[in-house]
Symmetry: C2
Subunit: 690 residues, 2 copies
């Protein structure tokens, strides 16, 4: 329900008295243009079709008839609109700045940190531009790639820094085009520092950030939201504070949307700066840059770079404890909390910007102390959405990638349209190959030695594989004392709802039903439910029970026998690595297994079991046995052969219990299969059958 209450949709001359009642009732209102009855649906659809294929349409406000009802209004807004909405609501935000890492392993760690820090609810993050590190390249550690990953895989509103110094306008346009292509919508336009000692402006190159702002607006119109840097004490190279302020005014007038300041140590520095900005006519949001001191060396380095003076009273505290990182960090947190509280109390600060130095602890602590770290367990959809503008309408995905959402995003990155409202059927969606994805996002996540400790230095039998699955679910350490914290089929930690079925899962894994994905049935729980809830408040969520596992040929055979009894209730797919799929899915249609009903909205059904996509998923699921697990062992080793045996002979099975209002019958299906397997008479009967 809209918090603004009732609205008036005016489509003709108004009746003043009813408007008066609405007004009395404390009801806000707005008008939409009168309906255009001469335009046909057909024309509107044609318009949509053509604008959809031209580039640059992402920024337009036209939304098609098929758009997703605004489960999350911010999802469709650009950064400056989000800021406006928050300011109107008096809702303070924070943002987080990171720099690109130097190694692939560092990149994997930084992405993990993005996911962790996203939980606190930053309005956006930004990634600095490393002129020396080939920042616009496709290297996994480049500024461009890190920002793109934050947008696409972590679903974060992301701003990419870009400096113009020593680059031609063509190079900058190239970078901006690439950023746009990758889904980046916000740019922090900087001059940047020349690498040499002398500032030699090249012909045609930009001398100032102002030129760059103008260039972006000229070349890309209103597509990007643009931020510029502000210097609360004046830029060190500027002739005076006033001269620097005039430069800032120029940058804003050229088309910047908001300002982030350089770090500073005292609230008054910032408040004086904001006052001066206002006086000179700068009206856009100004975000203070907060730098929690985390160590003596990092502070010294940053202060040197920024040419700032550290106040004497801070120096007095820090110098005596300069070798005690913990003490400095704790003091830094204290200082930052006090500074932020003073800033927030002033009433002129809409949000706080943190220089994290790629560290989690200090910034998180400050935000928690301020009460701004907002771990809202509510999810707009049951899976984490991507922030690429072309995925704005996406609201249906196959369940198979539930634990590997980054793989799903990677494999669908070339799609131009994403399922919205329903998955649809009949056509075969094309999923990209996984090769390059492995190289970076997964391979670097967990070193080989750690995986061997978790999954076994040596495997002795199929049962030793069963045990790994069991330990993963139970959380208990294996015989060598190591916990199994991941499996090849899980990018993400175990979903909370998995715990609802832990006992059953443990039992069946022990017996060789190697589960890789599951969900319980849910019959209308509130959307606020801490475990299975998602979507706006006041709604109800539903699920059909789902179970997906690898199992031996023998067990698959027994299941197929047993499933005849459940023919009208359970949909199944049973497939081996060669791609034979036995299923009772009606006309190979998708089966919706998660859906939600919300006040004043259409139905949302974010997860489906799609028979066609399952054939792509099974290739990935089977390959993971060899690529992630088997290859840990020597080629001729027994361990490698056990994994290969499973890969070659096991079946991947998925089961859906369509009777969501009743008790989940899938456990009974599996028990029936076990029972059949354990019954000698039953097996001989089967052999005798024609």
């Amino acid at each position: 329900m809209d918090p603004g209450g009732a609205r008036v949709l005016a489509a003709g001359p108004h009746s003043p008295s009813l408007r008066m009642w609405a007004s009395k009732a404390g009801i806000s209102r707005y008008s939409v243009p009168p309906s255009i009855s001469s335009r046909t649906w057909a024309t509107m659809n044609e318009t949509r079709g053509s604008s959809g294929s031209s580039s640059g349409s992402e920024g337009s406000k036209d939304s098609s008839r098929c758009s997703t009802p605004g489960l999350d209004p911010e999802r469709h807004e650009r950064l400056r609109e989000k800021m406006r909405r928050r300011m109107e609501a008096g809702d303070k935000w924070f943002s987080l700045e990171f720099f690109p890492p130097r190694t692939a392993e560092g990149a994997a760690n930084l992405l993990a940190m993005f996911d962790e820090m996203a939980a606190g609810g930053p309005l956006f993050i930004d990634v600095t531009w490393h002129p020396a590190g080939n920042p616009g390249s496709d290297k996994e550690t480049s500024s461009m790639m890190i920002a793109s990953t934050a947008v696409n895989y972590c679903g974060l509103e992301t701003m990419l820094h870009m400096s113009c110094c020593q680059q031609s306008p063509e190079e900058i346009t190239g970078h901006l085009n690439k950023a746009k292509q990758l889904g980046i919508k916000n740019i922090l336009a900087l001059r940047g520092d020349p690498t040499g000692d002398q500032w030699d402006a090249e012909d045609g190159a930009f001398d100032y950030a102002t030129d760059m702002v103008k260039h972006i607006r000229r070349e890309f119109g209103d597509y990007f939201d643009i931020c510029v840097a502000g210097y609360p004490k004046g830029h060190p190279e500027a002739g005076s504070f006033e001269e620097d302020l005039r430069h800032l005014k120029e940058k804003v007038s050229a088309g910047a949307d908001f300002i982030i300041t350089q770090l500073f140590f005292e609230a008054d520095t910032f408040l004086h700066f904001v006052k001066a900005c206002k006086e000179i006519g700068i009206t856009c949001p100004i975000l203070p840059g907060i730098f929690p001191i985390q160590s003596y060396s990092s502070m010294r380095q940053l202060v040197k770079l920024s040419k700032l003076e550290v106040p004497q009273e801070i120096k007095d505290v820090i110098e005596p404890i300069k070798d005690n990182d913990a003490a400095i960090c704790s003091y830094g947190i204290e200082l930052a909390v006090n500074l932020c509280q003073e800033l927030l109390a002033s009433g002129v600060v809409p949000g706080l910007h943190f220089y994290t130095l790629n560290r989690k602890m200090a910034t998180t602590m400050v935000l928690k102390r301020l009460g701004m770290w907002n771990e809202d367990p509510r999810r707009p959809l049951p899976w984490a959405i991507s922030a690429h503008p072309k995925r704005r309408e996406e609201d249906v995905r196959p369940i198979f990638w539930a634990s590997r959402p980054k793989s799903y995003i990677y494999r669908t990155q070339d799609w131009n349209e994403f399922p919205n409202g329903r998955w649809g059927n009949s056509s075969s969606p094309a999923f990209g190959e996984l090769k390059n994805y492995y190289l970076f996002y997964l391979k670097s996540k967990c070193p080989r030695q750690e995986l061997l400790k978790m999954w076994g230095e040596e495997l002795s039998s199929e049962e030793s594989v069963f045990e790994v699955f069991e330990r993963y679910l139970s959380g208990e350490p294996n015989q060598h004392g190591y916990k199994v914290t991941c499996l090849p089929w899980n990018d993400e930690p175990l979903a909370a709802e998995t715990s609802l079925m832990k006992e059953q899962l443990l039992r069946v894994n022990r017996l060789g039903i190697l589960t890789i994905n599951s969900q319980p049935n849910v019959n209308g729980k509130p959307s606020s439910d801490p475990i299975v809830g998602w979507g706006p408040s006041g709604g109800y969520v539903f699920q059909k029970a789902y179970l997906e596992f690898f199992t031996s040929r023998e067990t698959a055979q027994a299941l197929l026998q047993v499933l005849k009894k459940y023919e009208l209730r359970v949909n199944y797919h049973i497939v081996d690595v060669k791609g034979e799929n036995i299923t009772n899915a009606p006309e190979l249609q998708p089966n919706a297994v998660t859906w939600g009903i919300f006040p004043g909205r259409e139905i949302i059904q974010p997860t489906v079991v799609d028979p066609i996509s399952f054939m792509f998923w099974k290739d990935e699921a089977f390959a993971l046995w060899i690529e992630q697990w088997g290859k840990l062992y020597d080629e001729e080793s027994p361990s490698r052969m056990i994994i290969r045996y499973i890969h070659d002979n096991y079946f991947l099975v998925n089961l859906v219990d369509n009777e969501f209002p009743q008790d989940n019958c899938l456990w009974q299906v599996v028990e029936d299969a076990f029972e059949l397997l354990s019954r000698p008479a039953g097996r001989s009967r089967e052999v005798e059958a024609p």
Copy 2:
């Protein structure tokens, strides 16, 4: 769940042993082509977009990703596929032949008969071609228009007869193009009888139906399903039975899909004919034309036209009772039942074709006696679907037209795409004007005198209008002894579910809440529920409670006060004739109010409350006061002024209770408003409010 059971989706080399199990389990299978991984989603969408806009794509088998899951598999099939499916299943069908009426009133009656006879489940109906009645024109009584109405408004699979005699190929192509445009997919190709005594073949005109079949296939490819006529005793003009059979063989070879025979009186006539057809190599379905004798005169006429001889034993029975229509009809039914039973028992008859002569009784009786009149209360969707191929995917409609589906179809006939999966928001759909629609479909339905008897020769007050609404719901006769069987807002009889709320509806109408649309809330009833069920078996259906009514300004004002208390639960729209709409719909999004969950399928949500469409509906709903009711009275009469007063001053209100799992709160909302109105203190408090 598919009755065929499990299937094998092969996407690679097969593992023979698992296939063997599937085979043991009595499981059928089929293969789909291996997935084309080089095609991207984007390309597929582009392909769809372009083919969708070119004409003639309706016949292609390409379905887009967004297609409706096959709630009703027959909906997507062409007639010959439906026949094949029925024959494979051993499921006998029947079809019904009608001729175009002579007057507009006759047309309205015939359409009503289509709706009634559709309830029995004909596989298709056909409409004869009246060369003398300008059959291809836009006249409401033309063959073309009657067939088009059957397709579009009655949702019937329809075949249009078309004769080639005395028409140029260009004229025929013109007719066929028009038929295609109107959604007609089946043609019965006839030579037709020359109107003069002499057969003068024009230059270039077709001499035989064979030429016409060839022409259709040449000009329209495989678009139409084509039927041709067969003569069990040989065509009267043919030289011999054998010569006529060779002509028939030619017609079939030229591209006809099935045969309907001329009427005959003895089963052996037909069986001999079928045997002869088989021997000459005709393999397509042959449907016997059944003519239940209904009166002496109609029999004489038909026999004369068809140049058939009535068997002596029939003459012997009929002649003595030729003036007793009832006796003849009863004898005719008996004869037809016997004939049909003999035909069905022969095992060579896939379906029966009835010459109804536009009368319901005899054919219905025969079908009921045969056990083939199949009044299946199960509905594929909660509203009656249209059979126009471009509406094949349609599965969402605004609830407002629930009792005026023909008006909805009329007003959206120019759309090229129809909402599927979800309604969507943000754009304003264009609804056509109603003017021409009134002229025919509604105006001729009920004569003015009857309406006056129902709705009052003279109205004395607003309360006398309230009473009309009340009588309509109660079914009790009014003070002059007439039942109120319809209201301007209802094309269709009262929905069965309305009876679930009859007491509450009666009470509120008595108090001036003039309800025109409502549904109770439903929290997961089986899809087979006789009152609220729809869709395939094994599913669950849901509804949010809905109430729509006209009410006075005073009551609307009280409601608005009361609704503040229900802000988080009830969505409302309150609008007057001038178009002011007060609503709390979030971002003017549609609200799904009917949806269903089915085994192995995506969610279906066939009914929404769409804020934008509501503004179009309110124009129609207000206009009906004047057009249908007010204009019954003289311009200056008090009755006319009362209706005009309501039209000018009342509000149209709709309410949705989002809490579908709880008891419907809308009655309480209305009671609270009544309570507020009856409380003098409350009203004065209101006036005092700022």
